[in-house]
Symmetry: C2
Subunit: 617 residues, 2 copies
């Protein structure tokens, strides 16, 4: 599949009331800060996901979370005063004089840049971009301001009517940030707050954050011994232990099994290619700095690590002449791509440099699009039901801009097809214009986790462009050469990122079929050792068939000379789904004591295998 | 596993009679060339695998295989004359004068270098290396020569007694070669010959070559649609089609299944690392130019692609404290390594830049070495029996040089252990001193293919050095920290290279369990379409359990409106192991006609599944 977003939800729409509330709170926080530290120098204060921040520089003062109560107190005073937000426009020179008078050097700098940008359009001074940084409406010779009470700020709005209408908020944290993001500039303090329309929503969000912290996949990854990082290997390059590898492999196989029964065949491609491949595909320009460049010492080849797999799969399609009867041709490959993410953005398994995609590509005729996409959507639906995650579907369509390639008529038809099949399959979908890939419309799959967070996990994308660039063709029934359509699809998205989501969704309590260690036998004492052998024999014969076939039971036996209490506690820390406690009473009764999340019960030995097989799927 | 040889057999030992024969034939070929083209300038003429060559430069003459009969004829004259080979030593200046007089400028150059090397030892002039290039014994002030009849050559011998004692030979080919391997030097013509002690052996070898040509895995790879190369992706980077991927995956899974039942657990590691890892392991110096360097555009990380996996697996071992009770810890991973082979050495799947190893590492106590190695040797034995290849075992031991690291006592003990277990397991083994890895002794597995060629396929290596370099330890029963031993093992070696051997071994006629398409149903006409549906239903339920479990039957149905003859021919080209021919007679009799390599027979429909399951393993 092509480039995708790693984050599902974005900053709210500017037309939105919540956006205005959050933006107004940034001004109110600045008002409070100026009250507390009148010498404070202000940077910029935009709206971000779930809230807002303001960059502040108070000489000699290190604002910390201990200051939050008094800043919040001052903010509440401003809110209670219900000051009206009033917009004014100042001529640019007047604005600069104002900023100088207010002793706001960062604003002076911005306004000077705005002035230069307004008169001479130079490459490094794009007025739109500057306006965004400054958060102000910039015309050739004026800039916009907003005032509440005695606080005035360079700003383009929008704001709520008055400071009383900002909903519920909470200051969250303070972090260092370079002025305008450049390391050579002074370091400022970035104060973050979150805000929602109601206190109830805010409380819900804060509760979610707490739950998310308890479920942090990085902590669970360590506790459950799933993966590790090594300084010598490098950041963003996780290494998976035996337990984590079981998760990876089973999820990957499950994803492939869903497509195998839909006619997909595995292929294998190397992780490296000459950059010629991406010059042809167009990714060379688009992926730019995200590409890892590889230097051959023995040849003059210019190589790169693959950041996606479509051009490789295209080479396999192109290795043989194809006929209309051969289509659809469906390739799938779980393979690792490499993207040179900024080190500051790397985060556990959520954002890595080695991303294993459960990737697939269909090469088909135009009349086959609908069946193929439907089949993949149903596969995704089946998968996320099985994984107990709600799935939403976004139809990402083009807008009227010229950012999209390919025949416009083809787009219209394809988008109509996607919407029709979304309706036919009764998907919980919404459409969003301007979210298409440049090469075609797509369906994005948004999974909702146990604590209500939304994650873009997978995507089905139509592609009119790469078949054209690589001059793909098949022989039609009349002997003519016709260009096929490509469909890109990954069900999990990337296995690493999906695991980060899924570990937090389940809090590490994986379903039986997926758990690295599914069953642990706790042998109460040595007297039952022989009986435990019998239990082991039964467990060795258990093969789960759902949702993944031929899933041989993974069990351990704790036969240490330790107390049962200790053994149970240790097994619970590891979140083993099924504990089988075996003591002398069980031996005489021919039973085992089964302990799961649902409670404890006795099961006869000859029913144990069947019971376990029934527990999955 | 560590660095390994990609080629099993090497040039014969210099003490060997066959070596002397081949070397003498190089002189005899030069004698013949000088007779035919007296103006010929001679380069060097060493012994190579199976024969010899001589580099020759005849101005204005392009020697081709059309000249071979007359060169061979002249050689036979020399052989018949049974000239004695006589050694003389010339003072170095005298030798130079001789070469000038003989109008042999390449010899003059070599002798001048030898002279300089003999007096001033400079870095670029190593006398031993020069001696090898020149093939002469070099002392401080003299060089050795051999004469037969009126032909004299700078040479260190050894030779057979006289030209009549050179066995059977044949000139094979001529190829361009730069003088002393440097592109700036003149291009010479390299005449290759093969030679054996008897005509029978030569004939056998030539027949083997012909068979090898017919089995060439590059041709079969294309015909059977197993893999492809793309110029845009680059040389040495094969892409596997669906059929080839089935082979890769099944072989890889089979190799893993053999180790899984011996307690190995899968791990997963990225294909990239900071070079810090190899600086620590020592591979940074050893692998040198074979490493692909990776450039990060976003960070200052100095990265490389992994050429082996041991240091990665060590990071996983090291991610937790380990106790003596935890050992042995056994990791396995089928993963692709990247080595920057010279482009001239790349060859089909035999020599690639993307090598997928079925790699594994055991971390164990000294007292566990024997059991662990035995277990792996038995796994290899089981595998190659199943693959119908004879296996030889070479115990590669150290010699008395100081090229080996680690405690000498440990070496002696370990080598004795290896030899004992080879005897205990009744292996067909031989020992070879000086063939150990620098970090420990090893057992190399040599597979013999259907046409008698030997290939080093796999290896079990003891390693005393990396545990030391990475400061690995476990807590012993007395609480002390002890360093574990590492055992490296790959059963297939690299999957790509093994496939190149195995495709040629089987001539593309894979055993049933492994064949990409195992069964093809040939429907004689549309009247039996409904009956064929029943056949399909049966085939869909067939799951092979040997040698790999849960191997669902892969079948296709040829229901085209074509003649049966054509359908059979096409299926035979693809070397499908089982053809099921279904016609009206079968329909009425409730049978199918089965066609395999063993002939044709009728099988009742209700016995078909069972029959197929019995065909594998």
């Amino acid at each position: 599949m092509g480039k995708y977003k790693q984050r599902a939800s974005a900053v709210n729409d500017k037309q939105d009331n919540l956006y205005a509330m959050r933006h107004s709170l940034a001004h109110i926080m600045a008002t409070a800060v100026m009250k507390l530290w009148p010498e404070a120098k202000l940077g910029v204060g935009p709206v971000v996901e779930n809230g807002f921040y303001y960059d502040i520089d108070v000489e000699g003062v290190n604002i910390s979370d201990e200051d939050f109560p008094k800043i919040e107190q001052e903010m509440k005073v401003v809110i209670k005063a219900d000051q009206t937000f009033e917009r004014t426009d100042k001529a640019i020179d007047e604005a600069i004089e104002w900023a100088k008078g207010a002793k706001q050097p960062y604003k002076v700098e911005l306004l000077n840049d705005l002035k230069r940008a307004g008169t001479t359009l130079t490459k490094d001074l794009d007025p739109a971009e500057l306006g965004t940084i400054a958060g102000a409406d910039v015309k050739k010779d004026s800039a916009s301001f907003y005032t509440n009470g005695d606080f005035t700020d360079l700003c383009r709005g929008p704001h709520v009517e008055s400071t009383g209408k900002v909903g519920a908020f909470k200051l969250m944290r303070v972090a260092g940030a370079y002025w305008r993001g450049k390391e050579d500039n002074p370091q400022m303090q970035r104060l973050y707050g979150v805000a929602f329309e109601t206190q109830e929503e805010l409380d819900k969000y804060l509760k979610m954050l707490e739950e998310a912290k308890a479920r942090d996949h990085r902590r669970l990854g360590k506790e459950l011994d799933l993966f590790t990082f090594s300084e010598m290997v490098g950041s963003g390059l996780p290494l998976f232990t035996p337990r984590g590898t079981i998760l990876r492999e089973l999820l990957g196989h499950y994803s492939q099994s869903l497509r195998e029964k839909r006619g997909f065949e595995q292929v294998w491609t190397p992780h490296m290619t000459k950059n010629d491949l991406y010059k042809k595909s167009g990714h060379w320009d688009k992926f730019g700095e995200e590409l890892f460049l590889v230097q051959s010492q023995e040849t003059s080849d210019e190589l790169v690590l693959k950041p996606m797999n479509c051009p490789h799969h295209i080479q396999i399609f192109n290795s043989q002449p194809r006929s209309y009867r051969d289509l659809p041709i469906r390739y799938m490959e779980n393979t690792t791509d490499y993207r040179d993410e900024k080190s500051g953005e790397l985060h556990g398994l959520s954002r890595v440099r080695s991303l294993t995609q459960d990737d697939s590509h269909v090469f088909c005729r135009v009349d086959q699009i609908e069946d193929e996409v439907t089949s993949l959507v149903q596969a995704a639906d089946e998968m996320y039901k099985e994984l107990d995650m709600e799935l939403k579907f976004r139809l990402s369509f083009r807008d009227d801009s010229d950012a999209y390639l390919g025949d416009k008529k083809l787009w219209t038809e394809a988008q109509a097809k996607l919407e029709k099949l979304a309706k036919d399959n009764k998907l919980d979908y919404y459409t969003e214009d301007g979210e298409a890939a440049f090469y075609g419309p797509k369906i994005d799959f948004i999974a909702v986790d146990a604590i209500g967070r939304e994650w873009q996990v997978a995507t089905v994308q139509l592609d009119f462009v790469q078949p054209e660039r690589f001059e793909l063709s098949y022989t039609d029934s009349d002997g003519s050469f016709v260009q096929p359509i490509m469909i890109h699809c990954a069900l999990l998205g990337t296995i690493e990122r999906f695991l980060s989501v899924y570990i937090e969704h389940t809090a590490g309590r994986f379903p039986l079929w997926l758990a690295p260690e599914q069953v642990r036998v706790l042998q109460i004492n040595d007297q039952v050792a022989e009986y435990v052998m019998k239990v082991k024999q039964i467990l060795s014969g258990v093969v789960l068939m759902k949702p993944l076939k031929y899933n041989e039971l993974r069990y351990e036996v704790d036969e240490r000379n330790e107390s049962l209490g200790k053994k149970i506690r240790e097994a619970e820390v590891m979140k083993i789904p099924v504990l089988l406690i075996v003591g002398p009473q069980d031996q005489s009764a021919g039973t085992v004591s089964v302990r799961t999340q649902d409670g404890e019960s006795k099961i006869k030995l000859d029913e144990l295998g069947g019971w376990l097989e029934k527990q999955s799927g």
